[in-house]
């Protein structure tokens, strides 16, 4: 199989600051047409800055070239498969981009009186209803800006609920050892204590370990389902019942909801709280790291505690409901990542009733196919997952000395992004792979071919793999050096480097 070099301009591109020349100007900005006065008459001199921020001085055309050039060094979904596990890198429909930019949305100031923002509030209200139906819950807040903030909201909801029942002593949150790092980080941020539960040999939460951990100090269980191994927690009904009997709440991290939409619902499984990742399941772009959106849906007993304001229907229109005395409060400066909500709403309306189920089925089909084709060469210690599978490179490493990191880097030479590697922590040399539903069989076949080709290279000529990547814009980067010799901003010539 042939390698896929990046198209143009490999190697180092100078920073935008190095393209700057004193006195050059960019896009023209507006001068005042009101009567003006000298600035020091308006703002006392002692408040004025002595020298301006050293922003670049570059003509517009050069700025466009600069960012075009560096953009070409990115792998992205519109180039080829991007199989990061639990990240759900699916196609980002282009119509969403167009609609989110409509001036009625993009230009809308958040402090506009509600009578003049009925379209925005209506969209939010309807999106909340759609999400509630998809998850089998009762109420929803769209405010959290990302999955991790949805988690924080969820844990604070647990706290508020237990406090309202005079059970403030419940400060422990149970988390399986396969969980994403944001789960324990969030619990600590909320001032709660993390209790880690071991997974069993099938990669599922051990019901025995759960029973042992449950007592009147437990606030709840955070359980991704399917979990980060892609394995469905098939004892979920028993798990929910045990947690509820012990007085705890069930929280679902919705990172992997793409496996389930229209097929099964968290609410029916006994979850009390679930967060969605609209940038995963509902196709909004990942944007090189964000923005996302992490709405949280709850069963009715938690509704009074949701962040405020919520959007409510009132007669023929919509209002913001501030009268929520039990609310955990506000988690975002305004109403969350509204522009992301517009995209997700458009997507769900286009999928509709049947599409939402076909989406999950195709995601699971794609992953099963990929798993079936690869499992002989790359074992699956916990079997085929639903929407994602976690392969292990342990055997390859033992036989050839080629590590999972090397395989990942070599995949870049073949024109693919690598899967999530070395996670979850309970699989050694893990390759956590999620193809999503928007990939064709041919694309999956190409990916399989690339991995099999890499496995063959590892046997015959391991150095070509351990020295990878070879045809990317830069070769393997020294991450250790970046941490030791910190260089986290451009230093202008003549300016001493800080220690």
């Amino acid at each position: 199989m042939s390698l896929v070099p990046f198209p143009f301009k490999s190697g180092t591109t100078p920073t935008i600051f190095e393209r700057s020349q004193p006195g050059r100007t960019g896009t023209a900005m507006t001068r005042p047409d009101v009567p003006t006065r000298p600035l020091p008459e308006l703002i006392p001199q002692r408040h004025l800055r002595a020298s301006p921020p050293r922003l670049p001085e570059v003509p517009e055309h050069e700025v466009v070239r600069h960012y075009t050039e560096i953009s070409l060094k990115n792998h992205h979904v519109d180039r080829a498969l991007y199989p990061l596990g639990s990240c759900t890198m699916k196609h980002n429909p282009k119509v969403n981009e167009q609609l989110a930019r409509l001036s009625g949305f993009a230009g809308l100031h958040p402090f506009t009186p509600v009578g003049a923002v009925q379209g925005a509030l209506g969209l939010m209200y309807e999106l909340g209803q759609l999400l509630v139906e998809i998850a089998g819950m009762d109420a929803c807040s769209l405010q959290p800006a990302a999955g991790a903030q949805g988690e924080l909201t969820g844990v604070l909801l647990m706290r508020a609920y237990h406090q309202s029942r005079g059970e403030a002593g419940r400060r422990r949150v149970l988390i399986p050892d396969s969980a994403h790092g944001t789960n324990p980080a969030t619990v600590a941020l909320a001032g709660f204590e993390v209790v880690e539960l071991k997974s069993n040999e099938a990669g599922r939460l051990s019901v025995r370990a759960l029973r042992e951990a449950l007592d009147d100090r437990v606030a709840g269980l955070m359980l991704t389902n399917p979990n980060t191994l892609g394995v469905f927690e098939s004892a979920i009904l028993e798990i929910s019942e045990l947690v509820h009997q012990a007085g705890g709440l069930m929280y679902m991290d919705g990172a992997n909801l793409n496996a389930l939409t229209g097929v099964a619902r968290p609410g029916d499984m006994g979850y009390d709280i679930v967060h969605f990742n609209l940038h995963k399941t509902f196709s909004t772009p990942h944007g090189g790291g964000g923005p996302g959106a992490g709405p949280v849906a709850v069963r009715s007993h938690l509704e009074p505690f949701l962040p405020m304001p919520t959007v409510a229907a009132d007669g023929g229109g919509y209002v913001l409901d501030w009268d929520r005395p039990l609310s955990i409060g506000r988690v975002h400066g305004f109403y969350g990542n509204f522009g992301v909500l517009v995209r997700a709403y458009t997507f769900i309306r286009m999928l509709g009733r049947s599409g939402i189920r076909e989406m999950a089925e195709a995601a699971v089909l794609n992953n099963a196919y990929l798993s079936a084709r690869l499992e002989e060469r790359f074992p699956l210690p916990y079997g085929r997952g639903m929407h994602e599978s976690v392969f292990s490179g342990t055997e390859l490493k033992r036989r050839t000395g080629v590590k999972t990191l090397d395989v990942a880097k070599r995949l870049l030479d073949y024109g693919f992004h690598a899967p999530t590697v070395y996670f979850p922590l309970i699989v050694s040399e893990a390759l956590m792979t999620e193809p999503t539903e928007t990939e064709t069989k041919e694309e999956l076949d190409r990916y399989v071919e690339a991995l099999l080709s890499i496995a063959a290279e590892a046997e015959e000529d391991p150095e070509i793999v351990t020295a990878a990547p070879h045809v990317t814009p830069v070769r393997r980067l020294d991450e250790g050096r970046a941490g030791r010799e910190l260089d986290v901003r451009w230093h202008f010539p003549g300016e001493p480097r800080e220690g």
Partner: protein, 444 residues
Amino acid sequence: MSFLTHSEADRRQMLEAIGASGIRDLYADIPQSLILEEPLSLPEALSEWEATRLVSELAARNRDLVCFAGAGIYDHHVPAAADHILRRSEFYTAYTPYQPEVSQGTLQSIYEFQTMVCELTGLDVANASIYDGATATAEAVLMALSVTRRQEVILAGHLHPHYSQVLKTYTQGLSTSVRTLPPGAGGTVEATDLPITDATACVVVQNPNFLGLIEELGPIVERAHSEGALVICSVADPVSLALIRSPGDQGVDVVAGEGQPFGNTPNFGGPVVGLFAAREKYIRKMPGRIVGATEDAEGRRGYVLTLQTREQQIRREKATSNICTNQGLNALAATLHLALIGREGLRQVAETSVQNAHYAASRIRELEGFELLHPGTPFVREFAVRTEEDPRSILGRAIERGVLAGVRLGRFPDLGTPDGLLLAFTEKRTRAEIDLLVDTLAGG
């Protein structure tokens, strides 16, 4: 159905390779009682055109108004070239740069963003973004608690009410005590009134403050540092940083701010971009992604995510923050905007905004029934007025004339100014629009 890729023949072939007789086999691990037998109660699928029409109708139900509202979100012009580049798939369909060798575009742009944030704030180091100004402020406080191992936070003067609400949400499970110090008569903080003790972790002060007034940061920094407390400056209006002395220059330790006016439309409040910058000695306590430069195997300069041992994916419950997904594309929008307008362009935007605001203030001062809330205190491009008429009826009348006549301060009961309006001005506002605002306020 949209966006699916398989034909019936594909499905057959794939199922055969899997060894399954149907899709349902792939759901065998889910208890039968949980499998939905009926489709969800959702609307029927829409075509792309039907969805476009539906969503466009919703957008059209929002009023397009001449905007004099600010309070943390400002209506600036975004250069066409910024959105043009932002729409490149290479940027917006990529994810967090976990494989740096194929993410140099994203990584280099973040490195440039971090540099710009340092330049604006006068601080040493910056991160790759936080969700928004409110959450950046909350994260800054969490960092100060961790750095000082103290539990007391002082919110001084006119901090954006939403920022303090988010801070209280973030700290409700911790043993933090949050105290507020009301502003002095001039609307700004009196440093001598600060109840700082050796238990104080940090003082949070917004500059320009929520009412647009310029704070004297020096004395606050002096008092805080004398007790070993940090000073966090919250910047809800970063355009001001083009003209007024930077927080870093005045000794502030951390800047937590909102970057929306750079490259991001108001978006009904989100997505926007939280800025976070600090003194270098705090870098290992900072939240969020940080990009650093390094070299590749051939000695070429390149960029990677660095100091990741601070972060949740490695440190789990001991991480400095739980943040994972941030506001990457919004940070890129800010970078593009600042690169395109450059040093002189940003100064021009800031100065035009200031001139517009001061022209408006000079005219509103003359109106009967209106007075500036703090006439003696310098402001940048936003100021509060007290109105004899109920601000609700002013806002209603203005909307009929296509004008958003500011933010009603009665929205924030803690401010104690139910009769206040907060007005903000950008370079987009013309003299004719400002005159229309003034006429509308006057009831004409």
